[in-house]
């Protein structure tokens, strides 16, 4: 692990009208670690993800990627930096097959004509390399896959693009026990490959299974960063439900300003 964090957010503030979704939030992920982001509903987790993905622009604060300050104005900017986001609702097209989804929006082409052969070849290789072997055919539509398989496709798509940071938003929310284990295994494998992984989850069991460090947000503010080995689920639960913000700026109070993002 290098000293400079892969991604470093400082003093991120975001408001929606009168609702303060994020207040002076700091966050960092190092290369090769799984950093979990936890918090109750309305803690600002999704808003923070959207700031990283470029869906929302932060009102103030800085984002540094690999030590350089960057501006992320959209999904394409994020992708160019090497940030890939796997959303909660997967963002796969049900009517397209696995190959078509893996290359969605970035199809290999020569003069706008699709190059199917290399796409199919590369998809098969990527899935094999991630040990995703339960998919019967990469030419079947995503609609016919199980939840775990769909999640695997979404994650595989994220790592296929030479990405450096993979953001996983509730990757196990809709999965059964065996499928959850399959996805968590995949998450651990990403971290051990040297990628930075940001794992957003409600499920502390999943977090303690995979994460190296845990950032806790509450009501749009930082509560703290925990080393997984040195903490307990009990301590993290307390931080989520009753944590005290570590820094308070201006006149706004920590109480009651939470917003669902």
């Amino acid at each position: 692990m290098s000293d400079t964090p892969l991604l470093q957010l400082q003093n991120i503030t975001k408001t929606f009208g009168s609702v303060q979704a994020l207040t002076d939030v700091d966050f960092e992920v190092r290369a090769g670690e799984v950093m979990a982001l936890v918090g109750d509903n309305g803690a600002g987790k999704s808003t923070l993800v959207k700031c990283i993905a470029g869906t929302h622009a932060a009102d103030s604060g800085t984002i540094e990627f690999e030590g350089r300050e960057v501006n992320i104005h959209g999904p394409k900017d994020a992708a160019r930096l090497g940030i890939e986001v796997v959303y909660q609702d997967l963002a796969l097209c049900d009517n397209l097959d696995v190959v078509q989804n893996m290359y969605l929006g970035r199809e290999l082409n020569r003069a706008q004509i699709l190059s199917e052969a290399p796409m199919e070849q590369h998809t098969a290789e990527t899935l094999k390399s991630l040990a995703v072997t339960t998919i019967k055919s990469i030419r079947q539509t995503v609609a016919t896959l199980s939840g775990g398989q769909r999640q695997s496709v979404a994650v595989a798509r994220a790592v296929m693009w030479n990405s450096k940071l993979v953001v996983l938003d509730e990757p196990t929310a809709a999965l059964g026990v065996a499928q959850t284990e399959q996805v968590l295994e995949l998450v651990r494998r990403l971290g051990s490959q040297g990628l930075g992984v940001m794992l957003i989850s409600h499920n502390l069991h999943d977090v303690f299974e995979t994460a190296d460090r845990i950032t806790v947000l509450r009501l749009g503010r930082n509560v703290g960063v925990f080393e997984r080995r040195e903490t307990t689920q009990q301590a993290v639960v307390e931080a989520i439900t009753a944590g005290v913000p570590t820094k308070v700026s201006g006149v706004s109070s920590a109480a009651g300003a939470g917003a669902e993002a």
């Binding site: 997967l90 969605l104 929006g105 970035r106 706008q112 030419r139």
Partner: protein
């Protein structure tokens, strides 16, 4: 490639993909067909069977139906509908609807008729007039699409407004003037030009060759990779099928006579097949086509993947307008004029029904261009056959409606079967 390759190298090799397990040769073709049938993946089979059944029924009941001359007639009647239906396929693939195409076809015909009018100060060549008409309708479609894409008004409402507005424009223009006669030969050729018998054979050969060339191309690019390929047997069988259809069509047309005047392959048949090939290529081989399917499957997923969703929507509605204009010109050429009764009959609904009968889903993301061709052919045959039987218009509507219902019901059942079998 990311460093992802490193991991999982020690794992056992994954089981082969399903495509890799089918054997080659005739046996493989049969196995694949059986797999498709069992899982409800019927493709174009039901509609082709339906078309053959309809032809058989009319051949035995109507005296003037099963003649070469009527076959040429059928092509000239269905060509315009097929053009509109092609545009409808793309609009439906997005999960949108375009109700304005019937009267946009009218606008296309009207523009052409006005621009070719001898004696007016902007009279121009018919070819140029047609280009302009298509451009005008594409622009109108693009504007309607922009309102859908950028403002977010539902396409049903925008194009319903278009339906009324363009109908009004046609009424205003033609109410005073009556019928505008089209004398320009280029314009009239779009529906009435007849190729010589030899030219017909050459055209059949060219279109038949396209399919094996596309298969060959795919096999060449896939050389050295492990991806599943179409078997030679299935490619040869399909080529033979296409060849029979193409050469059969030309043979019948060359055989046709209308009161001692020998007929031949009509230009509209070539236009229909030409646009079928071009638009199938657009839908299946280009990034644009892929993005159309993606937006229809999940616009949100497409947006997050970096696809410019509004741009796709605008282009598709412009395409729909352009195809409507082409169809309208063909219809006008059929009668050498544009009158207040334009567009003929139920053009809008026939075009949408053609695409839907051909298996294009109204909910977006599912369907193919060939569906519009087959659907237009089926509707055209039905209406032509019922006409030769001198059956009343009321019955023609009733039968068309029943076929539409049956086709969509069959499709829905097939989709459910597919979902159950996990394909």
């Amino acid at each position: 490639m990311s460093s992802a390759e490193v991991v999982g190298a020690d794992k056992a090799p994954p089981p082969p993909l399903e495509e890799e397990q089918l054997s080659g040769g005739i046996r493989g073709v049969w196995q694949r067909a059986w797999l498709n049938l069992r899982t409800g993946n019927l493709g174009a089979v039901p509609i082709i069977v339906g078309e053959l059944a309809v032809v058989m029924i009319f051949a035995f009941t109507a005296t003037n139906f099963f003649t070469a001359a009527n076959f040429v007639n059928l092509i000239e009647q269905s060509a315009g509908t097929a053009m509109l239906a092609y545009g409808v396929v793309f609009v439906l693939l997005l999960g949108e609807i375009d109700l304005s195409i019937g009267y946009l076809a009218g606008i296309g015909a009207l523009v052409v008729a006005e621009l070719q009018l001898p004696g007016s100060k902007y009279q121009m060549s018919g070819l140029l007039a047609m280009l302009l008409a298509v451009a005008v309708c594409a622009a109108i479609g693009g504007v309607q699409g922009s309102i859908v894409a950028f403002v977010g008004v539902p396409s049903f409402v925008v194009t319903l407004a278009g339906f009324l507005i363009w109908q009004g424009v046609i009424l205003n223009t033609l109410e005073q003037r009556g019928t505008i006669i089209i004398q320009d030969r280029w314009i009239n050729y779009t529906d009435l030009y007849i190729f010589s018998p030899f030219a017909g054979w050459v055209i059949a050969a060219i279109f038949t060759a396209l399919y094996p060339f596309s298969v060959l191309y795919k096999k060449i690019v896939a050389r050295g990779t492990h991806i599943a390929q179409q078997s030679w047997t299935s490619a040869i069988l399909k080529t033979v099928g296409i060849g029979i259809a193409a050469f059969g069509t030309v043979a019948i047309c060359n055989h046709a006579k209308i009161i001692e005047t020998p007929e031949g392959l009509p230009l509209p048949a070539v236009l229909v097949v030409f646009f079928f090939v071009v638009l199938t290529f657009l839908a299946k081989w280009t990034t644009f086509g892929r993005h159309v399917y993606a937006v229809g499957g999940s616009a949100e997923a497409a947006r997050r993947a970096g696809i410019n969703v509004p741009r796709i929507r605008v282009i598709v509605f412009a395409l729909s307008g352009a195809m409507a204009a082409i169809g309208g010109i063909i219809f006008a050429a059929q009668v050498n004029s544009v009158a207040l009764t334009f567009p003929p009959g139920n053009l809008l609904l026939n075009a949408i029904a053609s695409a839907v009968i051909g298996g294009v889903s109204l909910f977006g993301g599912r369907g193919e261009v060939r569906g519009a061709l087959l659907g237009a052919l089926l509707i055209g045959t039905l209406q032509n056959g019922l006409n030769t039987l001198s059956i009343s218009n009321g019955w023609i509507y009733i039968v068309t409606g029943a076929v539409l219902l049956a086709a969509v019901t069959l499709d829905t059942v097939a989709v459910r079967l597919q979902a159950r079998s996990g394909r």
